[in-house]
């Protein structure tokens, strides 16, 4: 029943990109890039609390060199695309690897965040597209006029629309959920050494960072809705 070893030797090296492990490294690295963007974007946005002049100056600063701006933007777009491409490839492979589902299946050790990555990811992506259309391109800007170069105005008027804010808060919460697993998972995928105790600590750090990011972001629409920023 077991065929001899010799006739089954068919030589094909599974390269880095073809291997699931390699793809996970790609996913982790692109994830780190986007995570760094999420942090810097948050720090910039929080300038809204410093006043109209500050945040608008910051926005002008970002635009001081268009080629640099587009380099950063295209890097992020490529990262996002690769992140999505490897996810789809891996997801298709996983479906093939586990084609028959159990009549009953219990999750006993995985977090809610880790099990919902396939949902939180696409929703956050949809949100980012909406968000770019609203605040960067200005195509969608319900109920008021979009004024290029007046970020403060756009923010405040944009978030005054309740459903824009609600959609924003919801998406940011999902981003937090995504990061809660993603931050820890990327360390695992690139092979950061850890013991069981360190694993718990790293997961707590990931959770803390995610919560800080969520609070940081949603503080803006909430302040606007409550009238602290006008």
């Amino acid at each position: 029943m077991s065929a001899t070893a010799a006739d089954l030797h068919s030589y094909r090296v599974v390269g880095f990109w073809q291997s699931t492990n390699g793809k996970k490294v790609v996913m982790a690295l692109t994830g780190i890039m986007m995570f760094l963007f999420v942090i810097s974007h948050l720090l910039g946005n929080l300038l809204v609390f410093a006043g109209r002049a500050q945040i608008n100056a910051y926005a002008r600063f970002l635009h001081f060199d268009h080629s640099l701006l587009w380099t950063v933007r295209s890097t992020l777009i490529i990262a996002a695309v690769m992140h999505v491409v490897v996810t789809i490839q891996l997801a298709l492979r996983n479906k093939k690897a586990q084609p028959i589902s159990y009549l009953r299946k219990e999750a006993i050790n995985s977090s809610y965040a880790s099990r919902t990555m396939y949902w939180s990811g696409p929703i956050v992506l949809a949100f980012i597209i909406f968000h770019l259309l609203q605040f960067t391109a200005g195509y969608i800007h319900p109920e008021t006029r979009f004024i290029p170069n007046d970020v403060y105005h756009n923010l405040v008027t944009g978030f005054r629309v309740w459903w824009v804010s609600a959609w924003y808060v919801f998406a940011i919460c999902l981003l937090g959920l995504h990061l809660r697993h993603g931050l820890w998972s990327m360390l695992q995928s690139v092979g950061l050494a850890h013991s069981l105790r360190k694993e718990q600590a790293l997961k707590r750090v990931a959770l803390t960072i995610s919560i800080l990011i969520v609070f940081g972001y949603i503080s803006i629409p909430i302040s606007i809705l409550l009238g602290f920023l006008r």
């Binding site: 029943m1 077991s2 001899t4 070893a5 010799a6």
Partner: protein, 514 residues
């Protein structure tokens, strides 16, 4: 009939060297022209297959499980002996030789036992190099412990899973040869008969357990490493699948069976709890280092152990054997346990059990140290019995564990059928009437790694092997015998549902054999 063990003459220390020098060699180019069959993939079978594959022979290795890593060697807990004398406590090859022979009550061959002690040293080196994670001291050196009444510390161990780690080492070496193409693994296939042509063992008839197909495998020599026959008692510490079919069918083809009555009873097993029970679970003998064995003095005393005051307890091993106490050899401990149970002083629901009490050790050393030493065994006990051994004593009872008897082999490990070699527990060779703790792993690996690669070569070089056609009459007759035995069990022949299931048959004779 005269039995010639082929022991080299001269001093015992040089016997093995002399034997190897006298052996004929197979030239490297000719090795790949020889095919060998190995039945069994435990310590002996896997190590033999790997070593023979490394030498360049064409090896086919059979096991009835789904993978060679399942063989029952994996369940050995305690450790493996070797006369390394690392602890500097006076151990030597000669002392290991003496202990083994004396422990076996002088019913084993001197030369074989001496060779085993000699080889023991190399086994440890081999296993360390393979990556077996033996226990280490803080300085990075190998750790040792004492075992089974030996007065020196010569047992190497990997937590309570030494057998598992040694088997995985041999399994990995085997898989390396499978990759190299020298060994073909044939899992889920059971040997059902031996093919003997012109008096030589030339192959086997095997049944594929998945599709039931019978197949004939021809080779220049056949090596049986299929383990012992402890399951003859039905309830034993052997795996459910462990069977004697390979050696028994070889016996029926003319191999002699030596000392079948030498079986070993292990004193520290978890007692039987009901009729449905399918097997007995062994707990390492090392428990006897710190536990005290006792039963109530009064007959039929059914009080719970904590209600029995100290002066109504009979520490019978300490009483009868003041110098060895709870550490008497396995056979003595087992027999005494049975004796007190026969006197109606046994404990537990069935009355078949004695207490193994750690309360003294816990109050002397503290629960933490006991947990470090025996934590995994205590957990296992608790998982099976739902009783907490830190609070009350464990209940233990002896159970069949190992069989020293097996197919008769000479110094070259060859049976009375030329070309049929037998290794490990399947042969009778090294343990006499009783086996010392931590010696079974040693013997399996010595046979597989360090003896059979030479002795098989000698046999192959000294004999000629005609091409064998599968249509030969002898082979067809063998296949027919096998087929008839199988058909005899099938419903089409006898008809009607069985009045007794196979397991109940097994239980019945098991109770008789005991």
């Amino acid at each position: 009939m005269m039995l010639n063990a082929n022991i080299p003459s001269g001093p015992i220390e040089q016997a093995w060297d002399k034997a190897r020098f006298d052996m004929k060699l197979v030239s490297p180019a000719n090795k790949r022209r020889h095919s060998l069959i190995v039945v069994g993939s435990g310590l002996a079978g896997a190590s033999a297959s790997a070593s023979l594959g490394e030498l360049g022979y064409n090896v086919k290795c059979f096991c009835f499980q789904d993978s060679p890593r399942r063989a029952h060697s994996i369940a050995a807990q305690g450790g493996i002996n070797a006369a390394k004398n690392y602890p500097n406590d006076g151990d030597s090859i000669y002392r290991l030789f003496y202990d083994t022979l004396k422990g076996g009550d002088f019913r084993a061959r001197e030369a074989n036992v001496y060779r085993l002690a000699q080889i023991s040293v190399k086994i440890i080196d081999q296993c360390v190099a393979q990556g077996v994670p033996f226990a280490r001291e803080y300085g990075g050196l190998l750790a040792n412990r004492s075992f089974g009444g030996a007065q020196v510390s010569r047992t190497f161990y990997a937590r309570g899973q030494t057998g598992q780690q040694l088997l995985l080492g041999a399994y990995q070496a085997l898989e390396r040869q499978v990759y190299a193409g020298t060994v073909t693994m044939v899992p889920r296939t059971e040997m059902l008969d031996l093919i003997v042509i012109y008096g030589q063992a030339r192959g086997i008839v095997a049944r594929n357990l998945v599709d039931g197909e019978l197949s004939v495998h021809i080779a220049d020599a056949v090596i049986l490493a299929s383990g012992g026959y402890g399951n003859v008692y039905y309830l034993s510490t052997n795996a459910k699948g462990s069977n004697a079919t390979a050696i028994w069918r070889a016996y029926k083809r003319g191999a002699l069976f030596a000392n079948p009555c030498f079986t070993q009873i292990h004193p520290t097993c978890i007692p039987v709890s009901g009729d449905y029970q399918s097997k007995l679970t062994l707990m390492s003998e090392s428990l006897r280092n710190d536990g005290r064995i006792w039963v109530p003095k009064m007959k039929g005393d059914r009080r719970s152990p904590n209600q029995i005051p100290e002066d109504e307890r009979d520490y019978y091993l300490e009483r009868r054997y003041p110098s060895f106490g709870n550490l008497v050899p396995r056979d003595v401990a087992s027999r005494n346990a049975k004796q007190v149970c026969d006197e109606d002083r046994g404990v537990g629901k069935s009355g078949l059990g004695v207490y193994l009490d750690f309360s003294d050790a816990i109050s002397r050393l503290g629960e933490k140290i006991i947990r470090e030493r025996y934590g995994n065994l205590f957990n296992m006990y608790q998982r099976i019995t739902d009783e907490d051994p830190y609070k009350g004593p464990m209940r233990i009872y002896p159970a069949i564990h190992y069989t020293m008897g097996g197919l008769w082999v000479d110094y070259q490990l060859q049976s009375t059928i030329p070309g049929l070699f037998v290794l490990g527990e399947a042969n009778f060779s090294d343990h006499g009437a009783n086996r010392l703790g931590a010696s079974a792993l040693m013997q399996g690996l010595a046979d597989g790694y360090f003896i059979i690669p030479y002795t098989v070569g000698n046999y192959l070089a000294a004999n000629r092997f005609a091409r064998v056609d599968e249509s030969r009459q002898e082979i067809q007759n063998t296949v027919t015998t096998v087929r008839e035995t199988i058909i005899n069990c099938s419903p089409s022949e006898a008809g009607g549902p069985s009045i007794r299931s196979i397991a109940s048959w097994a239980k019945l004779y098991g109770s008789l054999a005991a």
